[in-house]
């Protein structure tokens, strides 16, 4: 039997009008793997994330998460299947507190009915207690515990990115997609984030797919890397293969043509 893949795409592609943004993409991500998706600006990396999470409907091909095809599913359904993400242009619940942002992520994990909420039945108390403690735990993992009562919009940029990760983790995903998690962070913060991502993988036993421009970060973290260019796969392999691949270097630095 072949290896178990937590996320697989088969000839995935999307066109916007006449423009092919992503074409023939075949990703295979194993359980507990940290996987990098890199490429120059406009290569279609974020579009891939939007396809995987069903923000966009693919024009061609399909996405298989944990053995299940996501055809005809929407954002909500694929999240329930076990995929969670962060966003390149941070999308937090701005007016809610940091803690509440994570609690929203736990919405489908610990449930109680509207009736028990309005009449404060015992079910409400016990469930809210669990929600609170798990949310605090997640904030602790990402070093946001002391900011729990802040409004999300008042957090510094780097911390907002971390809060997005905490919120995504709250949905108990099997694979976590991080869209430029280190953007806007200084070197010290980036180094810290690297450890955090590793810790998340080990602690929660999940796969992580990330988009990042910081090459040190990607090379130090990812076990497998796919390079996209103009929506097509340019290269695939271990960090060392990618680093020394002349085509990749040309794509990043610009070729002579």
């Amino acid at each position: 039997m072949s290896k178990e893949y937590i996320l697989k795409t088969e000839n995935l592609g999307i066109d916007f009008g006449g423009l092919t943004a992503v074409n023939n993409l075949n990703l295979k991500i194993e359980k507990n793997q940290i996987y990098g998706l890199i490429g120059p600006n406009g290569a279609g990396k974020t579009t891939v994330f939007n396809l995987l999470t069903k923000v966009y409907e693919p024009t061609r091909g399909k996405v298989i998460i944990d053995g299940q095809s996501t055809e005809k599913m929407d954002l909500v359904a694929v999240n329930k299947l076990g995929i969670a993400r962060t966003f390149q242009n941070i999308r937090l619940f701005k007016e809610l507190s940091v803690l509440d942002n994570v609690k929203v992520g736990l919405h489908n994990q610990k449930e109680y009915s509207l009736v028990s909420a309005i009449f404060r039945l015992p079910k409400f108390g016990s469930a809210e207690k669990e929600i609170e403690s798990e949310a605090m735990e997640l904030l602790d993992v990402l070093g946001l515990k002391e900011f729990a009562d802040f409004k999300a919009k008042n957090l510094p940029y780097g911390k907002q990115r971390k809060l997005e990760i905490a919120r995504a983790l709250a949905t108990h995903p099997k694979i976590l997609l991080l869209d430029e998690p280190a953007a806007g962070m200084n070197p010290a913060e980036t180094a810290e984030l690297l450890d955090t991502v590793k810790f998340i993988r080990d602690h929660f036993q999940i796969a992580i797919l990330l988009i990042e421009h910081d090459m040190k970060f990607v090379m130090g973290l990812c076990e497998k890397i796919t390079v996209l260019n103009f929506g097509e796969v340019l290269a695939y392999g271990d960090p060392d293969d990618i680093k020394n691949n002349p085509e990749v270097i040309a794509a990043y630095l610009g070729s002579d043509e």
């Binding site: 909500v76 969670a84 999308r91 919405h107």
Partner: protein, 352 residues
């Protein structure tokens, strides 16, 4: 001790203030009433103020908390009011206690409004923004027109119903509940100020409990960012339906309170103007701010009465004052000045 601490957290301060305001106002007004110091001009306004407070709180749930504009809340009031009149009129034949009749009428009015809320939420909540607002506006008009054409009576033979034209001939001892454009007449008045205040308090409890629950958080999350909310597995249509129905039910209950406060009630009372007025209370009070909504509702409902001395210029001055208040509350300098007075301590404690 832990509970006490929580009570004074920033978020809960607003809640505590709301309850405090309602109770203090109640005690003060009751005292004035008992000593006979309140002009009858104002006593007649007490129940309507309570009613508008509840509707404004309910509407703030839709506009402020879930971020959708509804221009049809008077429709839910109307449904509640006339349901209440019918239920209370019918039950008074069997149940002696006016209180029990009233309570049952409130519950029935709320349920009826909730049902209508659910039915219109099916097409409405698939729309967004302006489109949704326009559909709710149309809904308000439809309800007004429908009620305007309903003739409903009751006698020993049971209920009699006709539409558009009054063809009902009741036996002696029978009673007309709704007679088309004339509305409900001869209603036994069972609403009172105390009932209104209790209903405000219950409304506040329901709304705050909702806002501090997983459902409430989900609604606010969907308001702040739809895509992100869906990406963490929130079914947005479901959560918004929940809020809309809850809000409709509360508006319906408020309608019952209103309907049972007058012996005659015309359907045209609950028109587009009423919806807009309530929206004004909500916007002035602050979106999602229940305490502010209470204050603005009380002030703006009473204002026309206070301006009565101005005779013909009353509504003109009212409009001018409204513009001034809106500008003043949106001016950052003035707002900082006001909040500065109230929250001097908070500014020092920031960063905790």
């Amino acid at each position: 001790m832990e509970k006490m601490k929580q009570l004074f957290k920033k978020n809960n301060k607003n809640q505590a203030l709301s309850f405090l305001l309602v109770i203090v106002m109640y005690v003060a007004i009751e005292a004035l009433l008992k000593t006979g110091n309140l002009k009858s001009l104002y006593t007649s306004m007490l129940v309507p103020v309570c009613c508008y407070c509840i509707v404004a709180l309910a509407l703030n749930l839709v506009v402020g908390v879930s971020g959708e504009l509804s221009l049809g809340h008077a429709g839910f009031m109307s449904i509640g009011a006339f349901t209440g009149v019918i239920v209370s009129g019918y039950l008074s034949n069997f149940i002696g206690s006016q209180m029990v009749c009233f309570a049952i009428a409130v519950v029935c009015g709320a349920i009826m409004a909730a049902i209508f809320g659910f039915v219109i939420s099916i097409p409405v909540l698939k729309l967004e923004g302006d489109y949704l607002a326009i559909v709710t506006l149309a809904f308000g008009q439809i309800i007004k027109t429908l009620v305007n054409n309903i003739y409903l009576g009751y006698d020993q033979a049971g209920f009699h119903f006709s539409f558009v034209k009054n063809t009902i001939e009741l036996q002696s001892g029978g009673k007309m509940f709704i007679s088309g454009p004339v509305g409900a007449t001869g209603t036994t008045i069972t609403s009172n100020f105390t009932a209104g205040v209790i209903m405000i308090l219950i409304t506040l409890i329901i709304i705050y409990n909702f806002m501090n629950s997983r459902q409430g958080r989900a609604v606010m999350a969907a308001r702040d960012d739809k895509i992100a909310a869906q990406s963490v597995g929130l079914d947005i249509v479901k959560t918004k339906t929940m809020v809309f129905v809850l809000s409709a039910a509360l508006a319906g209950a408020a309608g019952v309170l209103y309907g049972l406060n007058f012996s005659t009630l015309v359907p045209s009372k609950f028109d587009f103007n009423t919806s807009i007025l309530v929206l004004v209370y909500v916007v002035l009070g602050g979106l999602g701010n229940m305490f502010g909504t209470l204050i603005s509702t009380i002030v703006l409902v009473m204002l026309p009465q206070l301006l009565r001395a101005l005779n013909d210029y009353r509504m003109l001055i009212y409009a001018v004052l409204l513009i001034v208040i809106m500008i003043a509350t949106n001016n950052k300098t003035i707002r900082d000045m006001i909040t500065g007075v109230f929250n001097r301590k908070k500014a020092e404690g920031e960063g905790e």
